[in-house]
C-alpha cells in the first residue's frame, strides 16, 4: 500500500528551482533513504511534506488524501512527524514536557476544563503522563525525564527529538540527518535503534542521511537527489555502483578514470 505519494512536485524560490518534478511512492512499513550532495534539495522535500513550504507545482498525497498546502500542525495530526537537521528541542522545558507536548495534539479537553481541572481533563492528563513516561522508558531516556532538554548530551538530544516525534503517534516518520555529528559507534547504535523503532512503533521511515554506512545499512531503498533532480533510485547495491551517483558526489574524472 502506498502511504505517501508525491507527483512530480516542484518547489521554486523565485528563480531558483530547489526541487524539480520530484516523484515518490512510499510503501507502508519501508525504510527509504534520501541522499544527495549539499544543497540538492533534500530538506526542501521534507519541508514540503510537513507543510512548512507549500509546493509551487503539483500535489502531495498521504493515505490517498491531498495534503498539499495544509498547515504543519494539521499534517502532524494526520500522522506525519519529523526531526530536524539542526536539533530543535524545547531547550528550557524538561525532557518529559518535550514529549508530553507531542502527545498534546490528541487531547480533547477544552481550555475551560483544563483551567478548572475537571475530571475529564485530569483523566486525560494522567494518561498523557503515563504514555509519555512509557515512551521515554522505551527509548531509554526514562532516567532523564525531569532534566532540561537543553542540558542533555548531543546523542541523547537526537534521541529525544525522535521520541518527541513518536509521541505524536505518527504513521510516517521523517528523519533529517539523524546521524549528523555522531561517531561510528554511536551511528551503529542509531541504525539498530531506528530499525527497532520501525518494528516496535509500526512506523514507516523516510530519512535523509550523509553517513553512507548508516544509509546502506538501514535503507531498503534509496533515492538520490542532485540540484533538485532525482538522478537515481534503487536498492543500496545499485546506488553504490551507479555512475551518475558517483559523478554527483565525486565529480566527472573519477567516473572516467
Amino acid at each position: 500500500m502506498t502511504l505517501l505519494k508525491l507527483n512530480n512536485v516542484t518547489m521554486r524560490f523565485g528563480g531558483l528551482t530547489a526541487v524539480d518534478s520530484f516523484k515518490l511512492a512510499l510503501k507502508k512499513g519501508e525504510i527509504l533513504g534520501l541522499i544527495g550532495p549539499n544543497g540538492a534539495g533534500k530538506t526542501t522535500v521534507f519541508n514540503m511534506i510537513t507543510g512548512i513550504y507549500s509546493p509551487t507545482k503539483n500535489s502531495i498525497y498521504f493515505r490517498d488524501e491531498n495534503i498539499t498546502g495544509l498547515k504543519p500542525d494539521i499534517i502532524a495530526k494526520k500522522g506525519i512527524a519529523r526531526t530536524f537537521q539542526n536539533i530543535r528541542l524545547l531547550d528550557n522545558l524538561t525532557v518529559l514536557d518535550n514529549v508530553m507536548i507531542g502527545v498534546h495534539l490528541h487531547l480533547k479537553s477544552s481550555l475551560f476544563s483544563a483551567i478548572l481541572r475537571l475530571p475529564g481533563y485530569v483523566r486525560e492528563e494522567k494518561s498523557l503522563y503515563t504514555k509519555s513516561i512509557n515512551l521515554l522508558e522505551r527509548v531509554e531516556l526514562g532516567d532523564f525525564a525531569y532534566e532540561k532538554a537543553g542540558s542533555l548530551p548531543y546523542g541523547k538530544q537526537r534521541k529525544l527529538e525522535i521520541a518527541r516525534a513518536l509521541a505524536t503517534n505518527p504513521e510516517l516518520l521523517l528523519l533529517d540527518e539523524p546521524a549528523a555529528g555522531m561517531n561510528p559507534q554511536e551511528s551503529q547504535e542509531l541504525v539498530n535503534f531506528i530499525r527497532q523503532l520501525r518494528d516496535q512503533f509500526n512506523v514507516t521511515i523516510f530519512l535523509i542521511e550523509h553517513d553512507m554506512k548508516v544509509v546502506m545499512g538501514l535503507c531498503e531503498r534509496i533515492l538520490v537527489l542532485d540540484y533538485g533532480v532525482t538522478i537515481a533510485e534503487g536498492i543500496p547495491q545499485e546506488i553504490q555502483n551507479n555512475p551518475e551517483v558517483i559523478k554527483a558526489y565525486l565529480g566527472v574524472d573519477v567516473v572516467n578514470a
Partner: protein, 353 residues
C-alpha cells in the same frame, strides 16, 4: 507532600490573606491602602502580560490599549446618570450609555470581555508578526485606542476624560481579582495548553510540527492576557476616579513591562513580588524628587527622578539577573517543603559537629 495537605495549606493561606486584607482595609491609613490597591492591580496587569510575554514569548506593547478599553467600559457603565449629564460638555453622551448604570462587578467583567474581543480582532492579523515587529504593531494598536478615545467625545468625553467615577475599588476587589488572575493563569500554564504555549516560546517551527496550532494558541494567550488587562484597567479607573486618554499612554505599558522583567519572564512569584516592590518604591522614592543634598553636592528638584532609579534597577536586572529577582525559584508548597527539609537536615548536621 500529598494533594490534601497542599489544598489545606492553600486554604489557610487564602484565609490569612483575607484576614490581612480585612485588617488593612479597616485599620491602615488611606495612603497605604491606596498603594496596596495599586500593588494588587499591578499584579493583575503584570501577571497577564507575563502570560503573553514570559510564557508564550510574544512581545506585546499593547497592554495600555486593553486597559483603556476595560477602564472606559467600566467607567461608562458605573458612572451615575446625573454625573454623566454634568461632565459631557463638548457633546452630550449617546443613548443608551446616557441611561445605563449597572453593578460594578458586571461592568468590570464586561470591560474585560470587550478587551478580550478587541484582542481577538487585533490578534488574528497581528500575531503573524514576530519579535520586535509584533511589539511595534501592538504599540500602534494601543496608540490607536488612545487616539480614538480622544476623538469620540459623544462616548468618551474626549480629552476632558471621565470625572467622578464612583470609587468602588477597594482591597477586596483588587486582591480578589488578583487572586483569580494568578489562579487562572497558574492553572493554565501548568496544563497541557500551557505546555503548548511554552513550546511556541521555545521554538515555533518545532511546536508547529508536533501539532501545536500556532494561531489558536497565540490568540488564546493574547485574549486571556487582554481580558485581565481590561479588568485591571477597570479597577484602576474606579480607584483613580478620573480617567482621560492621557492615563493610557505608552508609559503605562512600560511600567507593567518593568514589573514583568524585574519579576522574571515566566516567573509568577517574582512578578507578584515585583508588582508590590514597584509600587512601594515608586511612592517612597517621592522625596528624592524634591531635591536633596549629598555630602559634596546637592541635587536640585527634578520631577521624574524616581523613574531614573527604575531605569538603573532595570539595567542591573538585565545585566545580572536575566531570570528576574527570584531566578529559577517559583513558589509551590512542594518547593517550600524541600527548602524546609534541607534547612532541617543542615541544622541537624551542624548539631552533630
Amino acid at each position: 507532600m500529598n494533594k490534601k495537605k497542599e489544598q489545606l495549606l492553600t486554604l489557610i493561606f487564602v484565609i490569612l490573606l483575607a484576614a490581612l486584607i480585612w485588617l488593612a482595609q479597616n485599620y491602615f491609613d488611606k495612603y497605604l491602602i491606596r498603594i496596596l490597591n495599586l500593588g494588587f492591580i499591578y499584579v493583575i496587569l503584570a501577571v497577564s502580560l507575563n502570560l503573553l510575554f514570559g510564557f508564550t514569548g510574544q512581545f506585546s506593547l499593547g497592554h495600555a490599549g486593553f486597559m483603556a478599553i476595560g477602564a472606559y467600559t467600566t467607567s461608562l457603565l458605573i458612572l451615575p446618570v446625573s454625573q454623566k449629564e454634568m461632565i459631557y460638555l463638548i457633546e452630550p453622551i449617546i443613548w443608551p450609555l446616557s441611561i445605563l448604570e449597572i453593578p460594578f462587578i458586571i461592568a468590570l467583567l464586561l470591560g474585560g470581555l470587550f478587551a478580550a474581543i478587541a484582542a481577538i480582532l487585533i490578534g488574528l492579523p497581528v500575531l503573524r508578526l514576530r519579535g520586535d515587529y509584533l511589539g511595534i504593531a501592538t504599540l500602534g494598536f494601543a496608540e490607536i485606542i488612545r487616539v480614538i478615545a480622544n476623538n469620540i467625545p459623544q462616548v468618551t468625553n474626549g480629552a476632558l476624560g471621565l470625572k467622578g467615577v464612583p470609587e468602588y475599588t477597594n482591597l477586596w476587589w483588587s486582591a480578589g481579582f488578583a487572586v483569580v488572575t494568578v489562579f487562572v493563569i497558574k492553572r493554565l500554564i501548568s496544563s497541557s495548553y500551557g505546555r503548548a504555549l511554552m513550546a511556541i516560546r521555545e521554538n515555533e517551527i518545532a511546536a508547529e510540527t508536533i501539532g501545536v496550532n500556532l494561531t489558536y494558541h497565540k490568540v488564546m494567550s493574547f485574549t486571556i492576557s487582554a481580558f485581565f488587562a481590561g479588568i485591571g484597567g477597570g479597577l484602576l479607573a474606579s480607584l483613580l476616579t478620573t480617567i482621560d486618554p492621557r492615563t493610557f499612554m505608552m508609559f503605562l505599558t512600560f511600567n507593567v513591562l518593568i514589573v514583568v522583567v524585574i519579576g522574571g519572564l515566566g516567573n509568577l512569584t517574582g512578578t507578584i513580588i515585583s508588582a508590590f516592590l514597584f509600587n512601594f518604591t515608586l511612592e517612597y522614592l517621592r522625596p528624592i524628587e524634591n531635591g536633596f543634598s549629598l555630602i559634596f553636592f546637592s541635587v536640585p528638584k527634578i520631577p521624574g527622578l524616581r523613574m531614573v532609579v527604575f531605569s538603573i534597577a532595570l539595567l542591573l536586572v538585565i545585566l545580572f539577573k536575566q531570570k528576574g529577582i527570584l531566578g529559577e525559584f517559583e513558589f509551590s508548597w512542594q518547593r517550600i517543603a524541600q527548602i524546609k527539609n534541607s534547612l532541617i537536615s543542615r541544622t541537624s548536621e551542624g548539631g552533630e559537629l
